[in-house]
Symmetry: C2
């Protein structure tokens, strides 16, 4: 799908922008393509951008001291991703973002976002709404992690994003659910 059109429709769900306003906003973005397996952000990087997924699928993840991976987010077309802690505090990335498939992104720099938010009240409103819903989703996931068993959460995830079932290795789904791949596998026979 056309990147501009995808973003436009996505923004329009929250705020009404005139064509001119949206064009001005869209001019802040640059397009980038990555191959499967490529890193978009590596731990320790200085972060300058947040990313809007146009096509493909990316993962946001953390690797601990024992090389164990934890997946924070799978981002599909229409999703945003970055290391927001690093982006907003100007610190170095503590997480990684990598491509699960070939991926096309729109990149928005922190500076351009803040300028756009300052210039257009509606755009600030859009980003506030987005952050609110990310926060709510994150709280919901935390609660589900504490409250529900692995099987339930696996089914919850696949129901929410059926594409994931075939698109990403089970290993990564286990790393999202916070269990070993063996445990995830054994859910089938239980």
């Amino acid at each position: 799908m056309d990147p501009k059109q995808l973003l436009k429709e996505h923004v329009a769900k929250t705020v009404k922008l005139s064509d001119d306003e949206f064009d001005g906003f869209f001019d802040c973005f640059t397009t980038k393509s990555y191959k499967k397996g490529a890193y978009i952000i590596t731990e320790g990087d200085r972060i300058d951008c947040e990313y809007f997924v146009v096509s493909g699928c990316i993962k946001t993840f953390y690797i601990n001291d024992n090389q164990k991976m934890f997946v924070l987010q799978f981002a599909m077309p229409g999703c945003w991703a970055s290391d927001y802690s690093a982006l907003y505090n100007g610190t170095r990335a503590t997480i990684n973002i990598g491509c699960i498939t070939d991926t096309e992104l729109l990149c928005l720099s922190n500076k351009d976002r803040e300028n756009a938010c300052k210039k257009f009240h509606q755009i600030e409103h859009y980003f506030r709404a987005r952050m609110t819903s990310e926060y709510v989703a994150s709280q919901k996931r935390l609660l589900s992690t504490m409250n529900n068993d692995v099987k339930y959460r696996y089914e919850e995830l696949i129901t929410l994003f059926p594409e994931l079932f075939n698109m990403v290795p089970k290993r990564l789904i286990a790393a999202y659910l916070g269990v070993s791949r063996e445990t995830l596998y054994r859910l089938n026979n239980s």
Copy 2:
């Protein structure tokens, strides 16, 4: 501490408002006092407000089908709390908020917040910044839950909020960490 002053200082950390602007904003708030043990929000309620804690301590929590409690947040003076999912989507509360000690709150209705955000760009900016940092904190907690053992997370919590150690029952701290109170107790001798 004076509620108005506390809120003013809190807002000033993020945005510069003139005294008149702040006064206008503050007029949207109402003050409420609660006794220890009282409920501010009960599951199933229609939610109209978010709350800024002036004094005391409150807990945001969920009770599952087996009557097990999960604490999502301890809110101390200077913190905000509500069921944001219910507040923004107009749905019924799925969580509870209750008072751990006698508590004084400032209440801001959803409507008043949205009006203030519309009227004053700076206020919208304040709420965006707030939501961003809540989102970052929530992600960080999720990651810590998956990555670190209970003992580490307990110490992390007490380091961040030393007041909690004496102010809230260990039972509730266990419910925050997602373990049984027995497990929390046994950390001392291990």
